[in-house]
């Protein structure tokens, strides 16, 4: 009995010692500004950067530049996460001596990291030497900002975020942060066009992830592309085109939490929708289309995010609008390496001279085997029109609740597009969560 009490007392004492030894004691910063302080430095003692234009100290160029990446899904998901991962690899190739670290499956409540938030995981990357951390998902948006503010000596890239967009609604001074996004809207229009050209039933399904500004504007872009090609290329009545969005609740399937994207896709195919445009990170729309096709249905799908995504089911794939993060990542990392970093924001357009140029175009479109030769030609013509300045985000356009979004002839501003409050008139599906 007494022995137990003694043991307990000793343990308690040991515990107290551990706690007191490890508590963040404020130690004065003594490092010269040229060398970034180690990651273990308690961030609170670091004064926040005084102005947005004053970047953190440049990294020493002699040592290899290590950057980290937090991926919302697996690095080989053939979708969003793999596209950003490839972007990181592009940087590794272009900057000699640079090295990428990554953690995958990082999202709120991920069972892979009980109790650990994205900013804690970013710190784990930093402890392995990362000087810059990509937060690759909208799911980590708050965490990215929190981490950036708590770690002014680490560069943070918020992929798809808008914290550093001066004109944006959420602009925040965060000197060591840079947000980046590609203008996927164009490629979604192309996808919508391909869907409209192909559909036999006039019913197009959009497999949506969660609902937010980004997903609304992308779904709307696909709709605009589809409507344009339906009415202007095929000369059909807009009333005969059905465009329905179904949201699953997250970027990918989380069993028991989100709707099952396979079921949602099946539902489309079973209710007369013969083309489904995927808006989620993973490949369920294609996989289910392939199955439906084998069951004798004439159906197609459009993939998303990753340039080789059609490979999952090539024959029913009409094409894939994809992100090509390499060039943007490279330009950002370069500024971190050479010390020319500034807080900033990029919403990068495709290279209209060649939308599939891996070194210049932020977004692209790879056609799939499912696209007929005739439609392929028509699609090329549509892409050429876009390159020539065709703007589909132009009035008259109403929102889903019939309120005026753009008056006749008015072109949408970037702000209007980015923060699209609802789906557009003519689209079916929820604009906001029920």
């Amino acid at each position: 009995m007494r022995k137990n009490v003694m043991t307990f007392a000793l343990l308690a004492m040991a515990l107290v010692m551990v706690l007191s030894a490890c508590g963040p004691t404020p130690t004065p910063v003594t490092q010269a500004p040229a060398t970034p302080p180690p990651a273990t430095q308690p961030p609170a003692t670091q004064p926040p950067a005084p102005t947005a234009t004053q970047p953190p100290a440049p990294a020493a160029t002699a040592a290899p530049f290590v950057f980290g990446m937090l991926l919302v899904g697996p690095h080989n998901d053939q979708g969003w996460s793999q596209a950003t991962y490839d972007g990181g690899q592009y940087v590794e190739q272009k900057i000699a001596g640079s090295k990428m670290l990554y953690l995958e499956n990082v999202y709120s409540g991920s069972p892979a990291y009980p109790g650990q938030t994205a900013s804690q995981l970013a710190a784990q990357l930093v402890s392995q030497g990362a000087k810059l951390v990509f937060f690759n998902s909208d799911d980590m948006k708050d965490e990215a900002l929190k981490f950036a503010q708590a770690n002014p000596n680490i560069y943070v890239v918020g992929v798809s975020d808008d914290w550093t967009w001066k004109d944006g609604k959420n602009y925040t001074v965060s000197a060591n942060q840079f947000d980046v996004m590609g203008r996927m809207e164009y490629m979604k229009m192309v996808a919508g066009c391909a869907a409209a050209l192909t559909t036999q039933t006039g019913k197009i399904g959009f497999l949506g992830p969660l609902i937010n500004d980004e997903t609304r504007r992308l779904a709307a872009s696909a709709f605009l592309g589809a409507k344009y090609c339906w009415t202007n290329v095929l000369k059909k009545d807009a009333a005969n085109l059905t465009f329905t969005v179904t949201w699953i609740g997250f970027w990918f399937n989380i069993p028991g939490v989100t709707s099952d994207p396979s079921q949602v896709a099946d539902n489309f195919y079973n209710t007369g929708y013969d083309v489904v445009i995927s808006g989620i990170d993973t490949t369920e729309a294609l996989v289910q289309a392939e199955k439906a096709k084998q069951a004798g249905k004439a159906v197609w799908a459009l993939a998303y995010d990753y340039k080789s995504n059609c490979g999952v089911a090539p024959d029913i794939c009409l094409g894939v609008p994809y992100f090509n993060w390499g060039p943007a990542y490279l330009s950002i990392v370069k500024t971190a390496v050479d010390g020319s970093w500034t807080q900033g924001f990029q919403w990068n357009a495709p290279d209209w001279t060649n939308i599939n140029n891996p070194d210049t175009s932020a977004v692209g479109f790879n056609k799939g085997n499912g696209l007929s030769a005739d439609n392929s030609t028509k699609l090329d013509a549509f892409i050429a029109e876009l390159a020539g300045g065709l703007n589909l985000w132009k009035g008259p356009l109403n929102l889903q609740d019939k309120s005026v979004y753009l008056a006749d002839g008015a072109a949408a501003t970037d702000l209007q597009i980015w923060y699209l409050p609802q789906l557009l008139e003519g689209m079916q599906g929820d604009s906001v969560a029920k």
Binding site: P43, E104, P111, A123, Q124, S127
Partner: protein
């Protein structure tokens, strides 16, 4: 007596060594040099202040759920439903904060109300499992599992429905609370000293309760032989029920701390598997409250430290989980072997 102690120790150490051995084999198979891998776990857990803080952040709720398991197990109950109880704690805490977010009350008061609401939520959910068991004859394992599913469904409904972020429909969670309502944390970290202190107090309380009080002794009697306890005058179902309530309160507290201290919002899977992890810890320490704190700390360190294995060796993120499960499995097997050994001798 003395000989038995050595035999016990022998079997426990044997199980640990075996677990280490198998883990090492797994590491080798995955192409990671074992020694370096273990060192990197250590550095991932203790290599920097920030890492230790991360370990402590995980330790706190794990202590709470372990404390809950210890109480219900003393009463002979398998409270599998702790995940759900934690979730309900999170829901109630979120609800309370949302209710008073714009009220003219001092934030500290709202925070305390939130914590209390969390405790209440967990206790209510546990009481449901307890009532199902006591009055409905539903085994607490099935009742608990069922209620876990209901709790998850309820969270998803709230996150996508009434409590959604304006204009957003994502399982990323509800609108974050006003920063004034966050559980105060050490500057620049997510470690709340309050949550740490409360957790340590709770586990100490459970130790004392089970070790030195009439309540604890009677609870154990109910757990080991409820018929005899009944004949000795212990109101057995009331004690079972109370064990559920207490366990639920601890789980709810953990859930409340998750939303108020870590995530600052409600999201699905808010319980993070802490309920099951607590069960593992309790099994590993053979339900001896004395060891809860160090072993829970070890688990927390493993969870945090093994992130480094992913970064360096690109091991799968489930590695820490596998290691923990292995440890518990082997210790349980060792315990079985020990009992056979003792019977034979």
């Amino acid at each position: 007596m003395k000989k038995n102690t050595w035999v016990n120790l022998g079997f426990q150490v044997g199980a640990l060594v075996l677990a280490l051995l198998i883990t090492t084999l797994i590491l080798v198979a995955a192409g990671a040099p074992p020694l370096k891998a273990y060192l990197s776990i250590l550095s991932g857990a203790f290599g920097s202040t920030r890492n230790v803080v991360a370990v402590l952040i995980t330790w706190s709720p794990l202590l709470l759920t372990t404390a809950g398991v210890l109480i219900t197990f003393a009463a002979g109950l398998w409270n599998i439903g702790m995940e759900g109880q934690m979730t309900l704690g999170a829901i109630f805490a979120t609800g309370m904060l949302r209710l008073f977010e714009h009220a003219a009350l001092p934030p500290a008061l709202i925070i305390i109300l939130g914590i209390l609401a969390g405790i209440l939520g967990g206790a209510i959910w546990a009481a449901l499992a307890g009532a199902l068991k006591t009055f409905g004859g539903v085994n607490e394992i099935f009742g608990g599992l069922g209620l876990n599913f209901v709790a998850t469904a309820l969270t998803i409904y709230l996150v996508f429905g009434p409590w959604k972020r304006p204009g957003v429909g994502s399982m990323s969670g509800t609108q974050p609370f006003d920063q004034a309502l966050w559980l105060p944390t050490l500057p620049g970290t997510e470690l709340s000293i309050w949550s740490l202190v409360i957790s340590v107090l709770v586990i100490a309380l459970v130790y004392l309760l089970l070790r030195g009080t009439h309540f604890g002794l009677r609870l154990k009697a109910v757990g080991k032989n409820s018929k005899a306890a009944f004949l000795m005058g212990v109101p057995t179902w009331q004690y079972s029920m109370f064990a559920f309530l207490l366990c639920g309160a601890f789980a709810g507290l953990a859930g409340g701390i998750q939303v108020m201290g870590i995530y600052h919002r409600l999201l699905p899977n808010i319980s993070n598997g802490y309920g099951f992890l607590g069960l593992l810890v309790a099994m590993l320490i053979n339900y001896q409250a004395l060891w809860a704190a160090p072993i829970a700390f070890l688990f927390a360190a493993l969870n945090t430290g093994s992130v480094q294995l992913q970064i360096i060796y690109k091991l799968d993120s489930s590695f820490a989980g596998v290691l923990q499960d292995l440890l518990v499995l082997l210790v349980l097997l060792g315990e079985g072997a020990r009992q056979r050994f003792i019977k034979k001798n």
